[in-house]
């Protein structure tokens, strides 16, 4: 009888543990999902930012090349001017 009662208590305790584990799992999944959503969002933001920076970089590099070309032209003119002055 005592043994049966003891077993009964143990079973009830274990069932409560199962319930606790279930709730813990649900909470963990929820928290993790929020974290991942946040990380995904940050990732997206960073990707967007990276994209913008890359675009700017490309453009700037392009333009710098044009500017260098122009600068080179100006240098040429200056050299001609210098020759004219001489």
């Amino acid at each position: 009888m005592v043994f049966s009662v003891f077993i009964g208590f143990v079973i009830v305790f274990l069932l409560l543990c199962i319930v606790k584990v279930c709730f813990q799992t649900i909470r963990m999944v929820r928290q993790n999902r929020e974290k991942r959503l946040d990380l995904n969002q940050r990732l997206l933001d960073q990707e967007l930012k990276g994209q913008v920076i890359s675009e700017k970089n490309l453009y700037l590099n392009d333009f710098n090349q044009i500017l260098f070309g122009r600068f080179f032209e100006i240098n040429k003119e200056l050299i001609q001017l210098y020759k004219m002055l001489l």
């Binding site: 009888m1 043994f3 049966s4 077993i7 009964g8 143990v10 079973i11 274990l14 069932l15 543990c17 199962i18 584990v21 279930c22 813990q24 799992t25 963990m28 999944v29 993790n32 974290k35 991942r36 990380l39 995904n40 940050r42 990732l43 960073q46 990707e47 930012k49 990276g50 913008v52 920076i53 890359s54 675009e55 700017k56 970089n57 490309l58 453009y59 700037l60 590099n61 333009f63 710098n64 500017l67 260098f68 122009r70 600068f71 032209e73 100006i74 003119e77 200056l78 001609q80 001017l81 004219m84 002055l85």
Partner: protein
Amino acid sequence: MNRLLCIVVFLIFNFVGFSQDANKIIDSLKQVLSNHPSDSLKIKAYGDLCWYYRNVSIDSAFHYGNLALQYSKNTGNKQGESQAYNDLGILYYDISNFKKSISYYKKAMSFRENHQDSMGMASIHNKLGIAYQRIFKMDSAIYYATNALKIYEAKKHTKYAAIIKNNIANIYQDLKQYQKALDTHLEVSEIYSKLNDFEGLTYSYTNIGNAYLYLGDTLQTLNYYNKGIEIAESQNLLRELSTLYNNLGSVFKGQKKYVEAIENYNKSLSLRTKLNDDYGVSSAAINIGSLHMSKGEFNLAEERLRYGLELAKKVQAKELEMNAYGSFLSYYAYKKNTDSVIRYQNLYNAIQDTIFNERITKEVLEVREKYDAAEREKEIQSQRADLAIKELNINQKNTQIIGLVILILVLSLLGYLLYKQQKLKNQQLQKESELKEALVKIETQNKLQEQRLTISRDLHDNIGAQLTFIISSIDNLQYGFKITNDKLNKKLAGISEFTKETIYELRDTIWAMNKSEISLEDLQGRISNFIDKAGVSSNAVSFSFEVDNEVPKDFNFSSVKGMNIYRIIQEAINNAVKYSQADEIKVRIQKLSDGLGVFVHDNGKGFDGDIVEKGNGIDNMKKRAEEIGAHFSIESHLGKGTSVVLQIKSNS
């Protein structure tokens, strides 16, 4: 089946009377056997001989009964075997060997059960009930009697059901449950009444009267005896009538109504004399004798007593002999005949001892039977208690086992859930770390790109500074040294102008790079400034710039996209100013179904696209349009001007 009925009736009503016919039948059966009949006929003949010898010679009955059983076993005749067991069971009952009788009845029952012979089984059940009653196993007696009753009731054999009920009533009477016995007898009487079975009804009334007598209600006793007498007289049932008169006499004797008692005893006596019932006659005569004694009619008493004693000795009825001797004692005592008194005293004592011994033996047997029955009952109860305890233990163990199994299942479930939880946690941590890794990677890349951008900007700014220095140096040259050489002046002005243009472009680029987004308003402002400067430098051309009202004010572009759009418009206007010889250049921004449209139209000379070689400017515009995912087209007809169209999709 008819023979079974006869057995039942004989057992219940103790009916004798066919002994003379029996001898004739026995002879004819022996005749049959001498003719070498078939096996089945032989078995039947043996069985019949057993039956008919029953009231003639019990030993012969056993002999033929055993022959029938043996022959049936040898020939495999199960029916014959069952019948033989039944007949032998009856014989053992007759010699009061009730246990053997029961055992043989049970052997006969198995065949009848297998063949679903319900009537046969009912008969066996009834006989078993009677036999168990004789060994005081009343619960078994009632059990079997009830089984027989159920079968007869199911088969609607009302009469046989009444007989069984009568037996059950007798069992209740033996158990001294007189009220139950009375109730059952009353039920039986109703059945006989419905069946108009007067003989049965008479017996029933007799039994009811007896039951009331046990219950002490003599009025009802007399009532029912009188009812029985009425029917017996009308139906000429002499035996039943004699019994009723005798019983009535006993009741009156008990009430000390001697006249009525003697009258009824005399009636019983005369009927029993007619029926040759010596025992009954002896009983009645002795009763009458003792009644005469009570009334002081000693001569009459002596005559009756002698007659009764003679018959009692003839039928070996020891109790009746004892009663007679007892009455004679009183008679000779009255007569003061001492010798006779002593003689009859001795006779009385002797027979009393005999009866007493017989009675003691019988009672001892009965007590022993009762004791054995009680012991068996006790043992059964004890076994039942043991079984109940064992069952309880088994139940407890079962409960414990079930509890342990549930515990193991729950533990397994818990373990599994914990494992899954841990696994899920690991997976999620892994995904999280992957995401974090990707984030770190992309952040690192972005930092790298930002660093590159910073370097590019520094370079860009550096160029700007140098260009500014060049302009200021040239201005200083121009204003500081008063140069008169036109060619030189033109050269210097050209260089200064070129450098300024470069700086303007630089500033535009800086403006775009510094903004993360360029609104339509910003772009509008920038284009307006450019158009104003272009107007100043090309005062023969009129410029107009319109933005449709439908274009949303909050339209935004990324910095690169905005820059590219500006550059395309800039290049288109520059081309129009340089090559079209137009006097009107219109710039319009309008809303399209899928985005925005930028139109730069001049009313210049136009060009033939197939002939004229397109320069780098148009290619640059196309390239810029492709970079921002917009559609670029240029339409020109000779003499009709040129239109440059840029279609910017809203999701590009």
